[in-house]
Amino acid sequence: MYNFEYQKAGSVADAAKAATGEAKIVAGGMTLIPTLKLRLASPSKLVDLGGIKDLVGIKAEGGGVTIGAMTTHAAVANSAEVKKAIPALADLAEGIGDPAVRNRGTIGGSVANNDPAADYPAACVALGATIVTNKRKIAADDFFTGLFETALQEGEIVTSISFPAPEKAAYQKFRNPASRYALVGVFVAKTKAGVRVAVTGAGEGGVFRKKSFEDALSKNFSAAALDGIKVDAKGLNSDIHASADYRAHIISVMAKRAVAAAK
């Protein structure tokens, strides 16, 4: 690891002020610290959000939930509010990484990092979540802009994420057998405004919505509705673990399973 200054921020405002230039914000650190260990990043300063109590917590609101950015995956997985409002979201959190990772990793960190194989971006997009920052509110559709890229600007920090409750939803993940990240993850949400389907792990540009699935499922919310809808392998990842063709196929299978499992 390269050396850096370390600062524990007392408030979001402090953190925003400190997080300029070559400084980096650390939330749970589950992605950033491994990156630093491999000397793939050399921030001048780490600004730790770990001490900001306001950023932790889950509130049931308007049928949905609002989750503080520094809430751990374990807390989301075990939250009675989340289980009641959006059980699929609790299930998703329960499946992130391993228990030790879930005890440290946070929803805000995951969303701000936008790893193309992370799970939360699929939930945010499919559920039509709103990412709340210290500066504004951003619709999930506008937030994830590419591989490890988001709409966040310098000094902008995710403070919470609001998820409206769907009628039913489910997340199905096909794990990369080695890394255990999503090789393909499909989040299906049936909402009043229609069905939304988001795919993570598979796309070259990170999370994306599957329009053809959404249209079919909006008309007929059943696994059978997806029969015969071909998923184009173009734009999907291909590596030693799976070809793009296989990923395309698995997107269909996971989507059907998510529809069948939706609750």
Binding site: P177, A178, S179, H241, A242, V253
Partner: protein, 788 residues
């Protein structure tokens, strides 16, 4: 000592320290005044080193020294086994400098060593070292290396061939094929693996300015072998001035047998700097510097008569050696592979040709099973294909060809002589354990829920208890493969055992103590097992090839017998009896037909306080040493059966049942043996389903971390049903009747599960690892066929 003797599942005495964090692994050791080494490694598969720029690094804080290949001109890391070509000439044996000289030959080849006061400083300085390379064309696969006109790893190895070796009677094989009813063929790849013991390798070199003695602490399975190889061949340090300590070692699986560059670097460097140097691998460094395993490409053919009897087998194998010859590399595809191709069958004629090939990859050497998994996979796959083509039951075609119990000792056509075995017994037991007859019903039930169910049988045999020195010597081994044990009885009757075997998970401290308790009849608290330090243990060849109990245990028994013999003489004197009337049982010397008795402790005390002692006939003291050189290999065997279900939609597979029925002869500690089999099975299933080392065409390692190299996790497996045969056949030529159990699982498991997968999918063959995508593609083809 019924509660702690042979055959009892005694709980392990080493566990308390491991469970409380008190184990002492190499990286846990720190020496006074210690410096830290970081190794700058080649990023290229093949390149000429043009210039090493180290001025900037040298000036950085804390830097103590920077060493390159030009600085460290020492001997070559040796290869321990000379293989002869078919024409009688010697294999090509290039040098292997600890630090690259002139050229680098694989990604990870050491180029520069940076030594600093702290690890962090060494890391930073290492990053400041720049090396100018002229990148050369490279070969990273067997296929690429053996293509006409391929770039050469070594100029002296034409066509990148290290050796072209054969075993068996080709004329007899050709004749049998000419008259065969059926010939079945297979082309297969035995996938390259990375051993991944959980403890990364580490080494600390120390130098005593007062005495000029060197000490190396290292993660090794065989400290005496390292002392011999490094002292004699690399650094020219006499054994008397070099101590090698292998403390607690966190798993080996073969990868910690070999003498590695880093061991020589820190030892030599400590002498240069007159300060200790510590090096600990990061995992990503382990991936590109630990010896890899397997990596064969094989074509094989089996000839059968009309009744399904095997007439002859021929196999042609390309075996990847990597860029340099590691310690045991050359014997793995030859004497540990081709010699096992008879398996448990009476195949009368066998011929095997092995071409060892250099590539620009990490050296390949023995990994759990070493050659025997490759042989068993080849054989048990082709036998399954034969059953399919002959329309015979896979279990029955095997049974039909088994060597019968009446045929032992059985001379195979590939050099080995099996002393004993009972293959029907292990097959019958495994068939019963899995309810083989009920499979059709289970397959139908699976089909009803849309799953493809398959069953796969594998009957393995291995040659363990490595090895009779005269035999291996005649085959090119450059060392003997005996073992040494020393028994020191202390005046109060407690006992220290010094064994040349090394435990890195196998539980020797418990098992060896059981042997001592059984033989001497003393409680286990009075028995100490010492291993892993050349300053304490007289000599040793270490632990690999399932040899510890079969060879090391036998040496221990011999030394204990000497103790008892001397004890009887002392006891006879004390009891004024004739030595021939003195018996030793349950820790007591007694005179037959009398109530006279002396305890083991009394005799021990007398040996050290020889007031009343046969001093003209016997020396005082009670300490004995024995070397044991085995008369033959041991031949553990068994039958493994796997049952799998496949999800056609995704190609994911679930192992529904896995049963193992093994014949390890006599068993000292059933609990430990079962644990060894579990671990072996997991590594075997890992090879079959998950693990694969992948290089790209430029020699870059694509599977260089746990993100890409798939390590088996707890949720990949079910519980394993592991049982010992009800009709064991103890080894006939060692005093304990033991055969060894460490590698069986890794040998028997891959073909069992691959046969099950091929059975479920109705395909002839699938290469390992059977990934979901591969299975899905095969399942789709299967469905397409079914629809026709």
């Amino acid at each position: 000592m019924a509660d702690m003797g042979i055959g009892v599942s005694v709980k392990r005495r080493e566990d308390a320290r491991f469970l409380t964090g008190n184990g002492t692994y190499t990286d846990d050791i720190n020496r006074h005044g210690q410096t830290h080494a970081i190794i700058v490694r080649s990023p290229h598969a093949h390149a000429r080193i043009k210039k090493i720029n180290q001025a900037k690094a040298k000036a950085m804080p804390g830097v103590v020294a920077i060493f390159t290949g030009e600085d460290m001109k020492v001997g070559s890391l040796p290869c321990g086994w000379l293989i002869k070509n078919q024409d009688g000439s010697n294999m090509v044996e290039p040098g292997h400098p600890p630090i690259a000289q002139g050229k680098v030959r694989h990604v990870g080849d050491p180029v520069v060593v940076v030594v600093a006061e702290t690890r962090q400083q060494a890391l930073e300085a290492a990053e400041a070292v720049t090396v100018d390379y002229e990148v050369l064309p490279s070969v990273s696969s067997l296929k690429a290396a053996t293509k006409a006109g391929a770039p050469l790893v070594w100029d002296e190895a034409k066509g990148n061939i290290c050796y072209d070796w054969a075993l068996g009677d080709k004329a007899a094989v050709d004749a049998a094929f000419a008259g065969a009813h059926k010939i079945v063929k297979i082309d297969l790849v035995n996938n390259r693996l990375i051993p991944n013991a959980m403890e990364p390798r580490a080494a600390i070199g120390d130098f005593d300015k007062a005495t000029g003695d060197y000490t190396l602490y290292t993660t090794s399975q065989n400290p005496h072998v390292i002392r011999l190889l490094m002292g004699a061949f690399v650094l020219s340090i006499p054994e008397s001035k070099l101590r090698v300590v292998a403390p607690d070692v966190g798993g080996g699986f073969g990868s910690k047998i070999y003498h590695y560059a880093e061991e020589a670097i820190v030892t030599w460097g400590a002498g240069q700097l007159k300060r200790p140097i510590k090096w600990t691998a990061e995992r990503s460094e382990s991936f590109m510097s630990d010896a890899h395993g397997r990596d064969h490409v094989t074509h094989a053919e089996l000839a059968l008569d009309k009744d399904g009897k095997f007439l002859a087998l021929k196999a042609e194998t390309l075996a990847n050696m990597g860029a340099y010859l590691s310690t045991f590399a050359t014997c793995v595809p030859t004497y540990l592979h081709a010699t096992l191709l008879a398996g448990v069958y009476t195949t009368p004629a066998i011929w095997c040709n092995v071409k060892a090939v250099f590539t620009n990859t990490v050296p390949v050497d023995a990994y759990r099973g070493a050659g025997r998994p490759e042989a068993t996979f080849l054989l048990e796959r082709i036998v399954d294909i034969a059953a399919r083509e002959m329309k015979m039951d896979p279990a029955e075609i095997r049974r039909k060809n088994f060597i019968q119990t009446s045929q032992f000792p059985y001379q195979t056509p590939v050099a080995l002589q099996y002393d004993t075995g009972n293959y029907d017994a292990t097959l019958d037991m495994a068939l019963k354990m899995i309810d083989y007859k009920g499979f059709a019903g289970r397959k139908a039930a699976a089909a009803a829920k849309g799953k493809l169910r398959g069953i796969g049988v594998s009957c393995y045999i291995e040659a363990c208890g490595i090895a009779p020195s005269a035999v291996v010597g005649s085959l090119g081994a450059r060392a003997g493969l005996y073992e040494c044990a020393n028994v020191r009885v202390h005046p109060t009757g407690s006992v220290s055992i010094f064994t040349g075997s090394h435990s890195h998970g196998q539980g020797h401290e418990t098992t060896f103590a059981q042997v001592v308790a059984e033989k001497l009849g003393i409680p286990s608290e009075q028995i100490e097992i010492v291993h892993g330090d050349t300053a304490k243990v007289p000599f040793g060849m270490g632990t690999y090839g399932s040899r510890s109990i079969a060879v090391g245990g036998a040496a221990l028994v011999k030394a204990l017998d000497k103790i008892i013999l001397k004890g009887r003489k002392i006891a006879a004197h004390l009891m004024e009896a004739s030595e021939k009337d003195v018996e030793f049982k349950d820790g007591k010397f007694t005179v037959a037909g009398t109530d006279k008795a002396k305890t083991f402790g009394e005799v021990a005390l007398t040996a050290y306080v020889p007031h009343n002692y046969p001093i003209t006939e016997l020396e005082p003291g009670l300490e004995e040493q024995a070397f044991y050189d085995p008369l033959n290999f041991t031949y553990p065997s068994g039958c493994y059966i796997a049952e799998v279900e496949i999800d056609k939609d995704t190609g994911t597979l679930e192992i529904m049942r896995f049963v193992a029925s093994d014949d390890f002869g006599k068993i000292i500690n059933p609990m430990i043996v079962e644990g060894q089999v579990h671990g072996g099975i997991a590594q075997g299933l890992g090879q079959a389903l998950l693990e694969s080392c992948v290089y790209d065409k430029d020699g870059q390692l694509l599977t260089g971390s746990y993100n890409d190299y798939c390590m088996p996790r707890a949720d990949d497996f079910p519980n394993f049903d592991v049982q010992h045969t009800d009709k064991p056949t103890p080894c006939t030529h060692n005093p304990l009747g033991v055969k060894g159990c460490g590698e069986a699982g890794a040998i028997g498991a891959p073909p069992a599960v691959m046969n099950a997968i091929c059975n479920a999918l109705g395909v002839v063959h699938m290469d390992m690892p059977a990934t979901p995508e591969k299975i899905w593609r095969a399942a789709n083809a299967h469905m397409a066929r079914a629809a026709e």
